[in-house]
């Protein structure tokens, strides 16, 4: 399914230039969908990352009561959502 994304003229020109450069590098045509995929992948890779072991520092920061609150809210949300859908 295709979709339309509103872009400014300036962005469109920048994307076109990048697309042309990549086509030259790759020696093959690249469509805008592929170009966006490449940009997204690169953005994800360049995102500052910290080791996942940092998660361990967050363990135990919440009281056991927090989980009870979550459980209660979760079930209430579910009930309300299901009632709406009836």
């Amino acid at each position: 399914m295709n979709t339309t994304i509103p872009l400014s003229k300036e962005t469109k020109i920048l994307l076109f230039k990048l697309k042309s450069r990549l086509e030259q590098d790759e020696g093959r045509p690249i469509n805008y969908d592929e170009l966006m995929q490449i940009l997204l992948r690169n953005t994800e890779r360049s995102r500052p990352r910290v080791p996942l072991s940092e998660f361990q520092k967050l363990k135990g920061i919440l009281s056991p009561h927090a989980e009870e609150v979550y459980e209660r809210e979760h079930q209430l949300d579910l009930l309300a959502e299901e009632r709406k859908g009836e």
Partner: protein, 171 residues
């Protein structure tokens, strides 16, 4: 961070057969995984559990090469529960740290995908968005055990949406 490299999983800590070998293998080969809010909150809880040990042994390691994701609704759930428990400032700090560890998704296409999941299953909307995120990323989604996430639901999610939902016991 190097991605796509196979990881070694410690399965010896499993007190039950709740996480099947087949599921462990599939996570082992995954480069991405979605985490649901319930699972994150359980991990952040003071209550010591198998879930925490399992995540520490298999996911939250120094050399882990998996990319973790969550939907913005899960992020919101973590925020408000933390805010109620230990206050708004601590909730902000937690989210700042979480944002460095997890990729948060809010793509508009996920709304329709989550709607389809909700249409087919009586599960919480937040869970539907986690499932839709996994469907979009073509990766597994990890939940903590929840009463509505039955074996039948898990099988149906796989059949209808091609999503592998892995339920971690909260023992």
């Amino acid at each position: 961070m190097q991605r796509g490299k196979k990881r070694t999983f410690d399965t010896s800590k499993s007190p039950t057969d709740a996480i099947k070998e087949r599921e462990i293998v599939s996570i082992k080969n995954a480069t991405d995984c979605v985490l649901d809010a319930g699972l994150l909150l359980r991990y952040f809880s003071k209550t010591s559990s198998f879930l925490q040990e399992w995540l520490d042994a298999n996911f939250f390691t120094k050399d882990a090469n998996i990319m973790l994701h969550c939907h913005i609704i899960s992020r919101t759930e973590v925020y408000y529960i933390t805010c109620r428990d230990i206050g708004v400032e601590e909730a902000k700090k937690l989210l700042e740290k979480l944002d460095l560890l997890v990729v948060v998704h809010n793509e508009s296409m996920l709304a329709e995908m989550a709607g389809k999941v909700k249409c087919a299953h009586s599960i919480a909307l937040g869970d539907c968005f986690s499932i839709a995120t996994a469907q979009m990323l073509k990766c597994p989604v990890l939940f903590k055990q929840e009463r509505e996430l039955t074996k039948e639901v898990v099988t149906s999610l796989q059949q209808k949406f091609g999503v592998q939902a892995i339920i971690l016991p909260i023992l």
